[in-house]
């Protein structure tokens, strides 16, 4: 099954063209990285895939269904950019946060059944936060909070998960744990993963398909043969200077 398909998609924002005639297909079981410098329309591409933005031209398909008609949202996972930008003083426990994603699966009275509670605990077990269920979300570390967000999408058993810059604000230790978890989701649970990141080096090491944002275009590579240096040179050319930063 084709998880995502972009068919000749063009998108402009405020008359500024960002994407022109993009074609891209994400197959089931893939682990995709969408990379590019800041302002290169990575998040735009993600939002187009999720139907949060509408292309001026072309069509977007999610799980073989046109995204504007799409109605199987429980099969789609989404982890927003930089969890720390959220109000972490929000008065909610980890359990409440994770079970929020089950609303559309609940009955008319929206009550938690033992079966739904079981799902929440299973999702928390996958991300290793089972014993933190009754803790306030604000009392967890940044890495743990991110795993709460992952558990929140896992609870509705998605077939594909989209992540917007999941590595921002995550320390090296948590980053390692994050990729271990991604491997579990991708290899053991068969979930297709799509992550947007500006960190080309790390992403090209860990994913198996990579989409590089170019000028109005998306260049797709197999990570086995992908060389980040070539891309950086083509992307930045003579106009830009490469800034190195250490993690």
């Amino acid at each position: 099954m084709e998880m995502v398909k972009l068919d000749n998609v063009s998108f402009q924002y405020d008359r500024i063209p960002l994407l022109r005639g993009v074609n891209l297909t994400i197959q089931q079981g893939d682990f995709w990285g969408i990379v590019g410098p800041n302002g290169s329309a990575k998040s735009t591409l993600l939002k187009l895939m999720l139907g949060l933005l509408k292309p001026q031209r072309g069509k977007v398909f999610l799980l073989d269904q046109e995204v504007s008609q799409f109605n199987h949202w429980s099969r789609i996972g989404y982890i927003p950019q930089n969890v720390r930008e959220f109000n972490m003083g929000f008065p909610a426990t980890v359990h409440e946060m994770v079970s929020a994603n089950l609303v559309s699966q609940m009955g008319l009275l929206k009550t938690m059944t033992p079966a739904l509670h079981q799902k929440v605990m299973e999702a928390l077990e996958v991300v290793g936060l089972k014993d933190q269920a009754q803790k306030r979300i604000g009392h967890l570390s940044g890495g743990q909070q991110q795993r709460v967000f992952i558990a929140r999408t896992l609870v509705s058993s998605p077939t594909i998960i989209f992540m917007d810059e999941p590595l921002v604000g995550v320390d090296v230790d948590s980053q390692e744990k994050f990729f271990q978890l991604m491997e579990t989701l991708n290899r053991d649970m068969g979930i297709t993963l799509v992550m947007v990141s500006h960190d080309i080096g790390v992403v090209s090491e860990r994913t198996n398909r990579i989409a590089c944002m170019g000028r109005y275009q998306v260049l797709v590579h197999d990570t086995a043969t992908f060389k980040p240096e070539d891309y950086l040179e083509r992307m930045y050319g003579e106009k830009h200077k490469i800034m190195h930063h250490h993690h």
Binding site: L50, L52, W73, S74, I76, Y78, P80, F86, N87, F90, P91, A92, T93, H95, E96, M97, S99, A100, N101, V103, S104, M106, L109, K110, Q134, R136, R152, S156
Partner: protein
Amino acid sequence: MMPEIFNYGFMQRAFLAGMMVAVICPAIGVFLTLRRLSLIGDTLSHVALVGVAIGMLIDVYPVFTALVVTVLASFAIEGLRKSYPQYAELSLAVMMSFGVGMATVLISLGGSTGQVFSFLFGSVTLVTRQDVWSILILGIAILMMVLFFYRSLFYMAFDETAALLAGIPVKRINLIFTVMVAVTISLAMRIVGILMVSSLMIIPVAAALQLEGSFKKTFIFSLLFGLLSVTIGLTISFYASLAPGGTIVLTSLAILLGILLYKKVGGSV
């Protein structure tokens, strides 16, 4: 034997209506606060005064006209907000100016200011049978809707995009919630008065936000603090002959202050 306070029909009505308002105000206020919209209550209550003035001019039940005007104003705020996406609170300030200006002009047309005062500062003692019934029926409807949308509103307050992607009809619920806010304000103004409606929506919530634990606990304690404020406030105002609306709001502030002080000296809640 019944305490003296319940010997009077007007106090019985005040307690009935007051306790309903005490529950629905914070129930709506929790979600307003968490969405950082606590000022919307203030704005809409000022606009409600326009409705009250219209009701008096055309001799229609003022709570009803206030309700209609407040609902319309809440939609106008949403519209204005789109014109100033970077200045969320600007649309509130504009609408509040409209409310105060328009209400003043309309009231001056009417001539009688006595009844206006009862809406400005609340007049529990003047609560009529009609008021009690409309507050009880609409109040129960609001409460049931809050419970029905509880989980969706909770999710939307934290992360609207994720809520949308989880299959929650965000736009529709936002619209319904806006109407619920308008109705709550129109009902509550009879008890605590237009100038203090938003206090009852926000202060019990502010107190509950100081507690640890789950959202459910925060929600329940917001309602509990609202109830305490109204029952204690009404009782004090009866025996000490104080203005009921003001006494209720001051009681809720005392609860908030008590919790803040208790935490300051190291107590855990």
